[in-house]
Amino acid sequence: MKQHPQKKVRTDLNPSRLLTFKIDERDVSAHEDESILTVARQNGISIPTLCHLDGLSERGACRLCIIEVKGVAKLLPSCVTFPRQDMEVITNSERVVTYRKKILELLFTERNHVCSVCVSNGHCELQNLAVELGVTHVRYPYLYPRHAVDASHSRFSIDHNRCVLCLRCVRVCDEIEGAHTWDIMGRGITSQVITDLNQPWGTSETCTGCGKCVQVCPTGALSEKGKSVAEMIKRRQFLPYLQMMRGRQDDSWQK
């Protein structure tokens, strides 16, 4: 089973080294195979994320968790960056905070996030991030693409207008459920998540109807039919457990 090369299987013969480094001037200690994001959160330091979800592989794609490391010119995604002894990490410099805001604004312009009519209103991670990062408006022009809603599945529906292409659904379906019903078609700005051969979800031959994709979706893109706004709370606590039980450590971190 593939796993992120820097996350090793800890055994007596192959122990994980402990090291100390600094996050925002604070001394922290960590295993060498724990990502900076993990260590930061263990220490109560919050770093915003969108594509990351505990229990799924890392993609390093949304770029919201970027951090600065002293002596490194490039900004690094904390979810796939691993600590070194005496490294100095800064998670909240003005530089990264500004960039995070701008990236989030770009995500808002990409699809049609009309929050007031969204099933996830109040439980939406994209919305929460806007509050967290202090985004009160979006400076870039909205793109207003034309996207469809697929409600052909008997229990679920997908509204591509609200999709942020985090690919959590693709990963959970592949890594945890093992069905790989979801994937992403096209490239660039025309990318879109699909079921099977880009067919209506209801006609998918591979979907088991487990609904995990709905549970992991950060926005109102994937939702359960017949649920009201207030009921649209996601259950995800089972993910790390299932990841462990099914022996799939970071299977597709390079997707």
Partner: protein
């Protein structure tokens, strides 16, 4: 079958004797450029006419790789007298054969004593236009596979790497990473399986160096890869080549078959314990696959989406094994380095950029084609002396290097020596070697828009800054060229470029703003006149009309 040094020399001698047996040798360029203007038909006609005249043993007709001056194709050269003919048609065949041994045919003559030919220093392209790329014997006759033999039988892997390091060779794919250092990292990686990948996914629009090398001298690349395999401890290689280059694919496949048949690839090469085989993988039309992690994903049969580095492919590459990825031109430099020594190579070029570089000259320039020049040649010499200047008496405006990741270099830097560092200083990059010349009729905003459209449709869509950023920047450039812009657009353009540069996941996204940034820097007046005066200074944007 295994080969030894004597066998190699024997093959070379037979081949040379054979060639010396001919009174005249006519080389017809059958690289893609000349083929597309009919050199294939021309070669057939020449062969038939020679046969009809019963001169088969007196005059040899041979298809060869690129002769360089693609604009004037089909090109042929008379190897015995050094005469070049350009724009040759089937109807010229009789005249050419009649003139052999006498005065050349004046109307077809291509002056060979010009700077275009004289200023070139040929290392990578030394065999281009001289040997038949479809015959391994001709490559061997030009000291081919001698370097591999030398490396395998007389050098240890560290010694091979030592020579490459000493040569100062840097990656010819764009970024200019020291090749020796890359090889060292792979050789030190602990793994029983390692891979060598040759990146021939030449995706830059306007670049055709790698294609020419593969079409003209495929064995050189194969030999370079085998030497790299020996030096780093790999026994399997892949050539990832664009499916859009059918001729290159065909010739590489042929060359691989010949090399295997002769035993310079396979098991126990030259009676040593070294085994090495190479497979061809076809690209499928994705520029981003030039990025090494995306290329690896593509060879593994997946979508070519880059992943964050580290870990680097040198430690964790193809199928999770240490993998060395170099560009076609980089590998093509290796055999002469081993043969003549790293010190010899380091004597060419500038302090930090050694050797030569192959450039594809195109755009508004007289001598469109392929050139190889020492690093550090001033840009002015490339454009005006070698390239022959701008056609039609128009004024020079800029040179674009590095493709969609590069920048536009204005007139004020024409005297700059062309090497990795000076290009970087003016905001461009060496890139793979495309060089597009623009004259006064080219609108620089339009050029920036062209490259941004390219990056937008080639963005893999994985990271948000590149996926959405390219589209937003493209929209702004469309507004500017389309008479819809506001003064605020300029600030937003710069803001988005900065965002993409600093937060994108891979090199494509990080460098995609370069064409916009350099044009903003050097041709800001053109942006301003579009925005404020609704005028295109170059007169290229038709939708921008003057407001009365």
């Amino acid at each position: 079958m295994t080969l030894n040094s004597e066998d190699l020399h024997q093959i070379a001698k037979i081949e040379k004797d054979k060639q010396d047996g001919f009174q005249h040798r006519i080389h017809v360029c059958v690289a893609a450029g000349c083929l597309s203007c009919g050199s294939g038909v021309l070669m057939d006609a020449l062969g038939k006419e020679v046969n009809r005249r019963g001169l088969d043993n007196w005059c040899q007709i041979k298809g060869v790789g690129c002769l360089g001056l693609c604009a004037e194709g089909p090109l042929i050269s008379l190897a015995t007298s050094g005469t070049y003919y350009q724009g040759v048609k089937v109807s010229d065949v009789s005249d050419i054969l009649d003139a052999l041994g006498g005065n050349p045919v004046g109307r077809l003559l291509c002056p060979a004593d010009t700077a275009f030919f004289k200023r070139q220093v040929r290392i990578v392209t030394e065999n281009c236009g001289r040997i038949d790329p479809e015959r391994i014997e001709e490559y061997i006759a030009e000291s081919g596979y001698e370097s591999l033999y030398l490396a395998l039988t007389q050098m240890t892997p560290p010694e091979v790497i030592e020579q490459v390091t000493r040569s100062g060779l840097r990656g010819r794919g764009g970024a200019g990473y020291p090749t020796g250092l890359k090889w060292t990292t792979v050789s030190k990686a602990i793994s029983s399986t390692k891979f060598i990948i040759c990146n021939a996914d030449e995706g830059d629009p306007g670049a055709f160096m790698d294609r020419s090398v593969l079409e003209s001298d495929p064995h050189r690349v194969i030999e370079g890869m085998a030497i790299a395999g020996y030096a780093t401890g790999a026994s399997q290689g892949y050539i990832y080549v664009r499916a859009e280059y059918p001729l290159a694919v065909k010739r590489v496949r042929l060359a691989l078959a010949q090399a295997e048949r002769l035993g310079v690839l396979g098991n126990n090469i030259f009676n040593t314990h070294f085994n090495f085989t190479i497979k061809v993988r076809l690209g499928a039309g994705a520029f981003v696959c030039g990025e090494e992690t995306a290329l690896i994903a593509s060879i593994e049969g997946r979508m070519g989406r880059p992943r964050p580095r580290p870990p680097f492919p040198a430690e964790f590459g193809l199928w999770e094994h240490p993998t060395l990825i170099n560009n076609v031109e980089t590998f093509a430099n290796v055999p002469p380095i081993i043969r003549k020594g790293g010190k010899w190579f380091a004597g060419i070029g500038t302090e930090k950029s050694k050797g030569t570089k192959v450039f594809a000259l195109a755009g508004k320039i007289v001598n469109t084609g392929l050139i190889e020049i020492p690093m550090g040649t001033p840009l002015r010499d490339i454009v005006f002396a070698i390239g022959g200047g701008i056609p039609g008496g128009k004024g020079f405006k800029a040179v674009q290097t590095g493709g969609p990741s590069g920048g536009c270099i204005p007139e004020q830097f024409l005297d700059m020596p062309v090497d990795y560092d000076s290009l970087l200083q003016v905001g461009s990059i060496m890139g793979s070697g495309g060089m597009i010349v623009m004259d006064e009729t080219s609108c620089m905003v339009d050029v920036a828009k062209f490259f941004m459209e390219f990056c937008m449709s080639e963005s893999c869509g994985k990271c948000a800054p590149c996926r959405v950023g390219t589209r937003q920047i493209y929209d702004i450039l469309c507004r500017i060229t389309g008479n819809q812009s506001t003064p605020e657009d300029l600030a937003m353009l710069e803001d988005l470029c900065d965002l993409m540069k600093n937060t994108s996941l891979c090199g494509l996204g990080q460098s995609a703003p370069n064409p916009v940034l350099t044009t903003l820097k050097y041709f800001r007046d053109e942006y301003l006149s579009h925005i404020h005066d609704r005028t295109c200074l170059a007169g290229a944007c038709k939708t921008v009309v003057e407001v009365s």
